[in-house]
Subunit: 291 residues, 4 copies
Amino acid sequence: MFKFAAKYEWPKGYTSAAVLSADVDGESPYIWRNRGKKVEMLGEIEQRRFGPRVGLSRILGLCDEFGIKGSFYTPAWIAATYPEILPAIAKGGHEAAAHGYYHERVDELDEAANDKILAHSIKLFKSQLGKAPVGYRSPSWELTPAVHRCLRKRRFLYDSSLMGMDVPYSLDGLPEIPVQWFVDDAPYFRYVGGPTDKTPPANPNVVVDGWMEEFEATREFGSLFMITIHPWISGRGQRIRMLRKLLTKVCNTRGVWVTTAEEIARHHQKSANAKKFAMKLKLVSTDISLP
Amino acid sequence: MFKFAAKYEWPKGYTSAAVLSADVDGESPYIWRNRGKKVEMLGEIEQRRFGPRVGLSRILGLCDEFGIKGSFYTPAWIAATYPEILPAIAKGGHEAAAHGYYHERVDELDEAANDKILAHSIKLFKSQLGKAPVGYRSPSWELTPAVHRCLRKRRFLYDSSLMGMDVPYSLDGLPEIPVQWFVDDAPYFRYVGGPTDKTPPANPNVVVDGWMEEFEATREFGSLFMITIHPWISGRGQRIRMLRKLLTKVCNTRGVWVTTAEEIARHHQKSANAKKFAMKLKLVSTDISLP
Amino acid sequence: MFKFAAKYEWPKGYTSAAVLSADVDGESPYIWRNRGKKVEMLGEIEQRRFGPRVGLSRILGLCDEFGIKGSFYTPAWIAATYPEILPAIAKGGHEAAAHGYYHERVDELDEAANDKILAHSIKLFKSQLGKAPVGYRSPSWELTPAVHRCLRKRRFLYDSSLMGMDVPYSLDGLPEIPVQWFVDDAPYFRYVGGPTDKTPPANPNVVVDGWMEEFEATREFGSLFMITIHPWISGRGQRIRMLRKLLTKVCNTRGVWVTTAEEIARHHQKSANAKKFAMKLKLVSTDISLP
Amino acid sequence: MFKFAAKYEWPKGYTSAAVLSADVDGESPYIWRNRGKKVEMLGEIEQRRFGPRVGLSRILGLCDEFGIKGSFYTPAWIAATYPEILPAIAKGGHEAAAHGYYHERVDELDEAANDKILAHSIKLFKSQLGKAPVGYRSPSWELTPAVHRCLRKRRFLYDSSLMGMDVPYSLDGLPEIPVQWFVDDAPYFRYVGGPTDKTPPANPNVVVDGWMEEFEATREFGSLFMITIHPWISGRGQRIRMLRKLLTKVCNTRGVWVTTAEEIARHHQKSANAKKFAMKLKLVSTDISLP
């Protein structure tokens, strides 16, 4: 009865998959949040700059330690402001993918504006790397049908912003390589002070214990373990150590396909999964009508 | 002096009881919260659809693993939108019970509107299952005297929305099979991002450790262990594993009556408890008068 | 240089003290918060009634288990509405003390209104117990100089609402038996749902581990271990078990004076501490003047 | 490519550094927050007074236990109101440094007002200690280019308010001795009640476990372990015990330079680091321009 609860087919020899993905945001979400305001404050800005200055290089180093390739979603403003970033990602053999311009919420812009941002990202990635990005992740994991349309029009290979499954699926034919809040570093560790920031940064030992449970679960259910980290957050010392503990387990477990989102999307498209997990993209109607 | 602190009588051979209950909400609370608004966003909607697509089937599978029957409270909109849900619940031998239409807060509608929703639910359950629901749980566990009146008028066997006791009790003659926030998955794991979502998803190992303490307490006090889960939340991998740990303990403890809320309500009505724990339903007056 | 960091003198044979105190609030804070509003909702009200119905009796039972006496701060509305409460507290040999009328915030009422509430509490306690309360704790631990004045005028023996020390001290001659948020159950376990309730109920094993650390600290510093619980919160099963673990440790540690706040205030007044830890009650001026 | 991810050079024999820093705030942030309002409440004020009364002396005692020197950032209002504080800090051989007047947010005052506060602090420190402070930490860790300019003009040796690196760095020539939210006591333990305080005080055993992870990370990356505590928060018993556990580890690890921020700034200025980690101070433009 529940056809989408079917088993996902991984490439021969693998029974589940894992992706280390990073959203290389730096200052961009701060700019978007404060757009048009005069801000004289240095606190959060300097905190976020830790990412491009130090954090990203530690994460790339950690990938090298384990010999794995990750997917790095980078806003165009960041790539342009720190022109060493995309080349460093590519040089390590990782996937560099699109992630908006200023890390803008896509639902706050119309379709044309979002489309221009995609076009600009493609151009910028081409100029810095010699090729267009094939993957896209929406800032803040908020997507609209309009942006999804643009992604298909601009021939992106896949999107990685939604949580409707814990295996890859297809929405109107476009592979969706799903994410999950539970294995995102931001809810646990993001802390910039101020009156609205109430939850203290988590103990990384407690977080990684939970993430290992989720990893075990992807082994049991044959699903995708998609970790999402941010260099300005997880480049901090104790979090690098936390990730090392996690990767030690992930990389030493037989049958786990540790790869990029791009490789998973390619596999999805050419396998039976693309049909088995095909759905139509649809909003929900909020035009209610009580009985 | 404290007559309601008396011992509750369970059926012969049992000294406490446990119910695995699920609120099968899916998209419905989102629709109610955003009613009348134009929403173009896919993030939370896709996240919630994980419940009907995958989560519910995993929870039904987990019940089968342990050979237990649970109580599944399902909004009418969900049952109508996913017509495979109620039959799947019934086929597994579980209780399918009413849970509003759009998961609307009952205090935001008048008595007539709430009554129509109950009537509609009964009709829909009859058409899909051949019989009316006997149990009711209010959305968000918020109940009013008006809705309680409707439940009695429409001959529901019991309500399961309040926390005035940790054993079943009677309010104006209607059995109340009590719930408790402490053993609800939503406060720990519900996380949809955005500026108001501050507490990160909990480590399931820490949560289950606390839930086991509560289970031990129901053994000590002879009370009811009423777990409440949501397929879109607890269908996620690490939470299924968490529930398995919990059920392994619950199902292997002698003297625990693991059953549905319906069975407990039937026992309550025919036992001495119905009188011993009988109370009048009453609001509190907020028309204050200081000395 | 830091004269108030001096050692506190406990009665002969004791090197620290511990009080189990309970704020017997039940529905009263809800009434105050919703005063003048029309409320038709039963959720929080029934949850709070668990305290007078069951929770308090479990806490009294737990005290008997350990043969200890506690201090029970009870709003007058609660005492009047549940006339079995004060006698049950007194019968167990515990201290029954004043705690406002509706659990009103004292800073929201003027001095005359607060004074009338104190007068009424004294009268009510006399009528139910044959004697006036000697102790006072302000609702929500918020105190004003005006109420402090009333307490002295009405010859209360002590107040227990402030955190300026972790040993008893004197403010304008009135003993202050200090409290502390860290060992209050409400911040950890109070959970009533709704959009503003973001932090889930804590794991009692984690809480008690921290409370035991604080207990060890009171042993090291010779200070007061003042636990504050609420029957509607800590009467729940797993919390009773948590308190049992804590009391097992407290009551089996040599040199700890486990007693009531009243007894501690009496000791304070007749010892050298009353002078050694004497301070003037004062507000801070917020009429700022920058250099 | 990532030049700032280079190795920091510590004095001979050391491979990382640790500073115990304390922000001696007491009542001052409360005054600033409530400036101009009539406040009759004693709760938070008395709680904060625990710092000057008891907490600071316990922290100074703890430093003596381990034979270490710390950096104590003290608002001028606190130093003037409690004239025993600066001398006690100096007497213990610790660094006394500036921290605003009323713990005002520097971005809420203009450059002239901030400069007057710096001038006043220097004068006050000179009058109480016979010498000017060489270090500065901004209240709430919020800094502006204007205040940074004033610090340079007034010849401060260093600032310690930002998080752009986890080793010392230079901004427009002024050493920045960086802080980090993760190892600040306030996000974990600050709790003053009221409707906006949602997260309960943390278990110190869990916090210290995370802090030790960060300490290990500073060993691995050769970075700075800068702990920040507040006497009114960390002077509480269980937190003194937590700090003792942490310091036992820090002080018994070979190769860790446990010293003051001042000493680190002096080292930074005379070493190759000053050039290697030199950056220009700059805001980010929020005058956005989408592609």
